[in-house]
Symmetry: C2
Subunit: 323 residues, 2 copies
């Protein structure tokens, strides 16, 4: 049983050996660019952890982990084009450096490489592994489309449950599937795979609620982002959508007016409205609700409690829980 940090080190050693060809250089430089920007490699490490929950680490978990990491980076390249995002992790995005054509194509070629990785795993569980992965991959695309569809709507027109569904697809199913893929490799039962998948999905949603909360109320120095960035961008978040449910007609009118304009004190005034309608308290409770579901899922997995410790530690770390 290894910690997240130890597994990250092991995975990176494997993943960094993965080489794209030199030519056509525009295509593969674009692919290398997104991988070099880095990231925390959370998904592949979840794959390793899912494996280690049930059995010793198998080489196939590294192949499956590489597949999900390549897939995640493919989505970043294409999402940045769709969002017209100029910056990612402090670096210019792929389409800004290499143009949109190379960005679309490098994402495409990366997605094909995902399946080269999945084609290396043992034949006995290849079909199941590819099937679990494909389901998640399709859902991620569907989540991105729903997100784009929601962008065209007024926040009031977006139903809260539909929003939770969209966020789940866009951000959580790949975490969940990564864990399940590891469990398949480790020989976990279908029942245990299901609990582990649900754990990953609930942690992902709790994490997203926290992310929205910290963007609004977090200490910008600690959080490393501009406070209220989502508010300034009129981004649909858990907080904004719930505020429309919780606030009274006068507050609602004020919120709508603030969204339609850009006064200098926009962030402060929206935050005050959030506090007035207690959406901050609600968010903490909602995050806790998903967190508790996640820990219940973890409890339900029928392996020795001690084997679950690294997953518990990781969830505590991601969800910023003091132990």
């Amino acid at each position: 049983m290894q910690s997240f940090k130890e597994l990250t080190g092991q995975f990176s050693k494997h993943f960094d050996q993965l080489q794209f060809p030199e030519q056509p250089n525009r295509l593969y430089d674009a692919a290398r660019h997104i991988l070099e920007i880095g990231g925390k490699r959370i998904r592949p490490v979840l794959c390793l952890m899912g494996n280690e929950l049930f059995d010793e680490l198998h080489q196939d978990a590294f192949h499956a982990g590489s597949a999900v990491e390549l897939f995640h980076n493919f989505t970043l390249i294409h999402d940045d084009i769709m969002d017209k995002a100029p910056i990612r992790r402090g670096n210019p995005t792929v389409h800004m450096v290499y143009g949109e054509t190379a960005a679309i194509l490098s994402g495409d070629v990366m997605l094909i490489n995902v399946y080269e990785r999945l084609n290396k795993v043992h034949a006995k569980y290849q079909k199941k592994l590819v099937s679990v992965f494909n389901k998640a991959a399709i859902e991620v695309c569907e989540g991105q489309q729903l997100d784009m569809d929601f962008e065209l709507l007024e926040p009031e027109a977006v139903d809260y449950d539909s929003y939770v569904n969209m966020i789940g697809l866009k951000t959580s199913v790949l975490l969940a599937a990564s864990l399940q893929m590891g469990a398949i490799i480790g020989g976990g039962s279908e029942g245990n795979q299901g609990h582990l998948y649900a754990f990953g999905k609930n942690v992902g949603i709790a994490f997203q609620i926290q992310d929205d909360f910290l963007d609004a109320f977090g200490d910008p120095e600690k959080f490393g982002k501009q406070q209220g960035g989502d508010i300034l961008a009129n981004k649909k978040t858990f907080l904004l959508l719930k505020a429309f449910e919780l606030c009274n007609p006068a507050q609602k009118a004020e919120l709508k007016a603030l969204l339609a304009s850009n006064p200098e004190d926009k962030v402060a005034r929206v935050l005050q409205l959030f506090r007035d309608c207690k959406v901050d308290e609600w968010a903490e409770k909602e995050k806790e609700r998903f967190t508790q579901m996640a820990f219940k899922n973890l409890d339900d997995i029928a392996v020795l409690t001690s084997r679950k410790q690294p997953l518990r530690d990781l969830a505590d770390f991601l969800l910023n829980r003091q132990q």
Copy 2:
């Protein structure tokens, strides 16, 4: 042994049952749009023919055929975005109808669905099939990138062999791989698979030379396209690249001047130059050279000659050869 037409009918019956989900409708309407525009389904039928060359038709050839057809349509959606093409087969392109975001995403989700199809084939040859497919799929992306790279260069700067290589990747390797995938399912030997792959690749290049030739010299009524469309678009073709090799310095200067301008008689004058430097004769010979190589490849396949008849007929039809 069935003809191309019979196999097309059989494949369409299978393929048309393939359903995308209803929601998110923007995503899947975009995917349905490209499939409904149609096309000749040549690649999947090649898959069926590759199978039938060696054995009775197997259900897996329909899965593999659906995979290559979905892949082909995925490339059409993304290529049309890159080429900023408004029209395909007389219909507005996907990004024109559904926007670029849904077009990128519907291509992505279609590519994932390719691998859902490939995940249905018998485990005994799944790895080999996926590996042959992935190699071709990666090469198609590389070919598209090279094509885009060449677009930025003067025609004189593009080396003829590099151009043939690019065209081979962009248009022929998927035809070749479709045949080989069928052969794998039919139980063809590695050697026979290789000959069949080479046959597909050479037919593909011969077809492309013919396509370029007909665009310039064909009867527009018979060919169904505007004569000289490639010339008006300054498109790099076999003819244009070879003309720069074959013509004398004065002709070269005239050709460059014509490319840099748009006189009313541009098509006629470029065609005259093509004739003067005998690039039309060269193209017919070059097409014949690739055709002969293809038929040699077909001869080399160690099965009864009568089994090869449908492939010979198809090549004759595609390459417009009177028998």
